[in-house]
Symmetry: C2
Subunit: 107 residues, 2 copies
């Protein structure tokens, strides 16, 4: 389910934090669709990587979840708490710093 496979490594957590920092709540499936849409169909997350990542962020107490039943289907919403918002800001900023350094090497 992913296009540029090897390169997604390390950035999945970042993507999740960023999207949740811009939306009060999102569920797993929604995240995969939003990423696909925002990236112009170029980035397709795998569920096998996404769910463990969400569970890990939850165990780190950066996000909280709430299960809601909609149209007879269970849907698990995730939201950032204060610590999660801080982590999102810090980690996205760190990524851009690293990205610039990497571009200096690759250009």
């Amino acid at each position: 389910m992913s296009s540029k496979k090897e390169l997604i490594k390390g950035t999945l957590r970042l993507i999740v934090l960023k999207l949740l920092s811009e939306n009060t709540r999102m569920y797993g499936y929604e995240i995969t669709q939003r990423v696909k849409e925002l990236s112009g169909n170029q980035i397709e997350l795998t569920f096998g990587a996404l769910y463990p990542t969400l569970h890990k962020l939850e165990s780190e107490k950066l996000i909280v979840s709430k299960t809601v039943v909609i149209d007879g289907r269970a849907r698990k919403y995730y939201s950032l708490n204060k610590a999660g918002l801080d982590a999102a800001a810090t980690e996205v900023a760190d990524y851009f710093t690293f990205s610039k350094a990497l571009n200096m090497v690759l250009s």
Copy 2:
């Protein structure tokens, strides 16, 4: 030995291919120093990651090595062959494509 630890994942191979595509031959230690210099001291590769990466590229037959003794010390030079040059061009281009897609998600 690395600053933005988690983010280097997946990019080490890319860095090695790129540097070797611009230099006819380089040795391990030299690669770490060049990356540090080019990135403004921001990216410091670990040897525990670099050597296995070089050995893997060699087993994939993208690079060839030649050991030379300089000042009594063994030095192992690595060079890209034709397949390696092609891989370097392709993988660096793929990275920039992915990077733009990721920026669309993170911006």
